[in-house]
Amino acid sequence: MNGNHDAFTLGPLETGPACCVPHPLIQVRNLSLQYDGKTALDTITLDIYQGCITALIGPSGCGKTSFLSTINRLTDLIPRCNVTGQILIGGQDIHHPNCDVQTLRRRIGMVFQKPVPFPLSIRRNLSLPLNEHGVTRKDEVAAIIEQVLYDVGLWDEVHDRLDASALSLSGGQQQRLCIARALALNPEILLMDEPCSALDPMASGVVEDLICRLQGRYTIVIVTHNLAQARRIANYAAFFWVRERAGQLVEFGRSQQIFESPRHELTAAYVNGSRG
């Protein structure tokens, strides 16, 4: 894996709509979350703009992962986790009884901190979710697989061993496979929870380039501890802080503003590296 990074070229992407048209796709209103009665997120209100990359930054334990999981309602799976408040996606309340959670999650791809390839072949990792969503025609599935592997720059590395176990890939390749798997369902939104934290700097660079190329086509929310990375790739940034073990949103704004002229002193201390 290492060493042949400059050997492959990243696949072409069609250009999407211009970035950062300030159209709020996700509107979070007074969102609170309790685990077992203990508040982990305290009345968060935030807009996430369509086609933009929004970075969530903040110290460990401030609820970034929890916040991401409320957007695709993955918190439903956690016992004794209680979410209150409203999240509107494209104007629709995701907690409304008419909102089908499977359809919702199809619209929202998620990439976890640790790569989670299924213990199946590379091909099956990508075709399984497709099949589950009713895409079963062989040629169609094959075309999508090729396209997404191309998009994440994995095609040249794996096209001749699609039937090998996904567990035989390196960590960076596994993470890109997971991104490809999320992309295969053609989502509108991508939630990424520290996608580069388990990767070496080279692989991390590849994933970062990929995220930049996805900008515009997808609405991306990315959690990162790497402030330099957030500064490089994000259009917007949200700074979370933990007060009495409850996560709060301290400041939200354009990435440039957050990093260069933060309004809040906590933000200033955090982005300058003196706290957190």
Binding site: M110, K114, F118, L120, S165
Partner: protein, 289 residues
């Protein structure tokens, strides 16, 4: 007198060495017991074992003839026990592992009942089976009654191994599958069950082993008629029961008892290796398609 100082590294080496020797000794002992048992069986039973022994029905209380009818009864009882117990046990395991929180009251009650059930001596199962299946349901002394009694006995082990196997599958798979918009059922079928296959197979094997070795629970339910069963409602004698009867109640039955025991152990070994190969193959196929 100068004190002898043994350097730390040497002390560690000595400790390592003695620990390893102990472990090898333990392994050796375990294998020795197994080999000894097998050798004893082969030595005692081989002479009496023949094709005719496997294909003829017993005569003269088992002193002569073979064990064909016994084998058929045994396999029928086993089959019925598995058909009744496996779906029930695995469904319960899915419920416990996937759908109820680990510390819920319901889960605790079910798990506690299973622990109690697992500890009940098999003779009690025999009495229960006799009262419930044979008398109350009117199945009499029959293969059906014996098989269903065995099914009750197998429920705890099949359920707990399956539940443990499914719980051992990392939650990350469930979360990832859910995040991809897959239903719980889909995740169960495509990810969790396959990942738990070795545990399911292991539980099945332990269950089959117990079922094949069972005597007390069958004495009062499937009975000890050694004729070839004509239907599931006929009485049929299980292999383990046959061995027990030959060695305890039939003077001059030692040779056929040894031979029957050899057959039983070979059967267990065969089923074990088959199931292991099957589980392994299944997993490979899952990964490769």
């Amino acid at each position: 007198m100068p004190e002898i100082i043994i350097p730390v590294s040497v002390r560690q080496k000595i400790r390592d060495f003695s620990l390893q020797s102990l472990m090898y000794l333990a392994v050796l002992l375990v294998s020795a017991v197994f080999v000894w048992l097998l050798a004893d069986l082969v030595q005692g039973g081989m002479a009496h074992l023949s094709w005719a022994f496997l294909t003829e029905s017993p005569r003269d209380a088992g002193r002569a003839g073979g064990i064909a009818s016994i084998l058929v009864s045994t396999l029928l009882i086993l089959l019925i026990a598995l058909i009744a117990a496996v779906p029930l046990a695995w469904a319960t395991a899915v419920l416990l592992a996937e759908f109820v929180p680990i510390d819920s009251r319901f889960g605790r009650i079910v798990r506690f009942s299973l622990y109690v059930l697992a500890g009940v001596p098999s003779i009690v199962f025999g009495l229960f089976g006799n009262a419930f299946f044979s008398i109350y349901l009117g199945l009499g002394f029959s293969i059906l009654s014996g098989g269903l009694t065995l099914a009750c006995m197998l429920l705890p082990i099949l359920t707990s191994t399956a539940e443990a196997g499914m719980r051992a599958v990392p939650d990350a798979y469930r979360l990832s599958a859910a995040a991809l918009g897959m239903t719980r059922t889909a995740a169960l079928i495509h990810l969790i069950f396959p990942a738990a296959t070795p545990a399911l197979a292991a539980g099945l094997l332990i269950g089959i082993g117990r079922a094949l070795a069972e005597t007390a629970a069958l004495l009062f339910t499937s009975g000890y008629v050694d004729r070839m069963p004509g239907s599931l409602l006929d009485s049929g004698r299980a292999l383990a029961l046959h061995i027990f009867d030959l060695s305890m109640n039939v003077p001059g039955g030692d040779m056929p008892a040894y031979a029957a025991a050899l057959v039983l152990v070979s059967l267990l070994l065969g089923i074990n290796s088959l199931a292991m190969m099957f589980a392994h193959g299944l997993q490979r196929r899952r990964i490769l398609t």
